[in-house]
Amino acid sequence: MDGSTTPGTEAGIVTEAPVIEAKKLSLTFQTNDGPVHALKDVNLRVDQGDFVSFIGPSGCGKTTLLRAIAALEQPTSGTLTVNGLSPDEARKARAYGYVFQAAGLYPWRTIAGNIRLPLEIMGYARSDMEDRVNKVLQLVDLEGFGKKYPWQLSGGMQQRASIARALAFDADILLMDEPFGALDEIVRDRLNEELLSLWDRTGKTIGFVTHSIPEAVYLSTKIVVMSPRPGRITDVIDSPLPKERPLDIRDTAEFIDVAHRVREGLRAGHGDDL
């Protein structure tokens, strides 16, 4: 296996190879009630610097797809590559940072300590750690909170800290599983805006699971619409929106058009379910 084809994703080099590629990917869970087809014949291509949203109703396999990319689930058939490697190899190469639905910060570590966690595990030099922690704290607008404990922060701040934790090490992919799902609308808007600017500054490839249409349309360059039973992709929409996106872009005709197409895709996917 030619493992040395490391991600040609350094600044400036735009490679033709996709960052994430799935071909006829299927994943079936064996349960007591028989097999559940979480994913069926999923084909997907994500390029360097894309912001891809996975949207669909619960049970459509969007989280499963993200977890398969992160090698937290094993596909039953088909091929899936991340940076040209198998997902597990990519995981071992620490190719991505993963943000979960809950912040999941360690209560016994300070915010800085939590961000340091992946760095300690990956064996970064101690002097390097401090720089990185400060850098990502600034990136997520949490300067001065490094010495606080998680319980001293609001839910939104905790989630920002968990994003900082995923950004602290050199992974060029960021996988986010409904990171703002548990937050209120106002905080969510603000974090969406911050996430866009963060994406702009870091140039990472982002996979983002959500069930909010406005969130998906506002954030993404590519929207993957999924439908349940079995989990499959019904539509992939390349967003025509410009990269510069103030919050009020959501009132433009273009935005509403895209949102409409997403809604149509979701409705079509549901078929006779609704």
Binding site: K92, Y96, Y98, Y106, W108
Partner: protein, 373 residues
């Protein structure tokens, strides 16, 4: 888990202080507003009664009394009730002995023959000899010693005798405590090792726990003499046999608690470390071990008490040696009930101290870990 527990503690602590200060402040506010805007009092202060003249003082005094009532008073009440019950119980328990003794010393007592007295109920005997009641609390070898007898024996055997003397309870308590501590350390170490093995090794997971449970179903009183005798035959006497019995009892709660604690991180926490490609060792030191700390301390408290029981039981077969167990045994040989009870109280004091120290270490540790305690 820590959070709910701690939050409750905090809320309780803050609640009481807030109540005290805010009640005073509200009463003050109510008074001023009461004089300024007689009719609008209710708008400012919900409880109109406290805006009555002099309410500030009355309310704060009541609050202070309430604070006292919620803290010391219930404890004192329970202690007083126990003491009263204890003194009351001494009378029927000891009346036969007291009356017999009175007869031996030539006092008048009814009925006159020993057989008759033996066949008589305790309460009938009390009714026949009401004068004897006071003496039931001061017998030399009562069936049930009165509280003051136990306390005075405790005092005499700890303070009036040098701690190196064989009659000193401090001497015996130390003999037991040292074995307890050694056994506790061995048991805790063994318990943690077993728990780590159970969590990380499937074979151990399937096999160790049933044995650990089986080990605790065997009465310790049956095993202790064998351990002591077997070890004595290979030349091991003194502290070690007691410590081993003590460890045998204390490892179990630690195993159970630590298995639970090391498994307490949820799937998401473990997934997160998986995305970092963390090794099992890193997962253990960075996630499982810190997450298990509250469980460990809960187990340690149970384990410490069990350790003490183990050490005392380990002292019983040695007969006439050192330690609270030996003291208990000697007391029961010679009918020295006061000595037995004072040894029991000493054991309780030692156990409470050890558990208290563990609790203090727990508070300090968890606070240093940033957890709300």
């Amino acid at each position: 888990m820590w959070r709910t527990g701690c939050a409750r503690g905090c809320a309780r602590g803050m609640g009481t202080t807030c109540e005290g200060t805010s009640a005073k402040r509200m009463a003050r506010v109510g008074k001023t507003y009461g004089t300024l805007y007689g009719t609008r009092r209710g708008d400012r202060v919900s409880d109109t009664s406290i805006s009555a003249p002099g309410a500030a003082v009355g309310r704060s005094a009541r609050v202070a009394l309430a604070g006292f009532a919620s803290g010391v008073l219930p404890v004192l009440t329970v202690v007083a009730a126990i003491l009263a019950l204890w003194y009351a119980a001494c009378v029927p328990m000891n009346i036969h002995g007291t009356v017999n003794l009175a007869r031996q010393h030539g006092f008048e007592a009814m009925p006159t023959t020993r057989g008759e007295r033996r066949d008589m109920g305790a309460f009938a005997l009390i009714a026949a000899n009401p004068v004897a009641i006071a003496f039931t609390w001061s017998e030399d070898k009562p069936r049930l010693p009165a509280p003051h007898q136990v306390v005075s024996e405790l005092w005499v055997s700890t303070v009036s005798v040098a701690p190196t003397d064989k009659r000193s309870l401090v001497f015996h308590a130390w003999a037991t405590l040292s074995a307890t501590l050694v056994g506790f350390v061995i048991g805790t170490g063994l318990g943690i090792l077993l728990a780590v093995g159970i969590v990380h090794n499937r074979a151990m997971d399937m096999s160790v726990m049933p044995w650990a449970i089986a080990s605790q179903t065997i009465p310790i009183l049956a095993i202790a003499p064998m351990v002591v005798v077997v070890l004595a035959s290979v030349g091991l006497t003194g502290l070690l046999p007691k410590a081993l019995i003590s460890a045998y009892l204390s490892f179990f709660p630690v195993v159970v608690g630590m298995v639970k604690g090391l498994r307490s991180p949820d799937a998401m926490q473990l997934d997160l470390l998986k995305t970092y490609y963390a090794s099992k060792t890193q997962t253990f030191w960075k996630l499982r071990l810190p997450a298990s700390m509250p469980y460990l301390f809960a187990s340690l408290k149970i384990g410490a008490a069990a350790s003490l029981v183990g050490a005392i039981v380990g002292e019983l077969p040695s007969g006439g040696g050192q330690g609270l167990g030996a003291r208990l045994l000697a007391g029961s040989y010679y009918g020295q009930t006061i000595q037995i009870w004072s040894a029991l109280f000493m054991a309780a004091i030692v156990a409470a101290s050890v558990v208290g120290i563990i609790g203090a270490v727990e508070r300090v540790t968890l606070r240093r870990m940033g957890m709300r305690t």
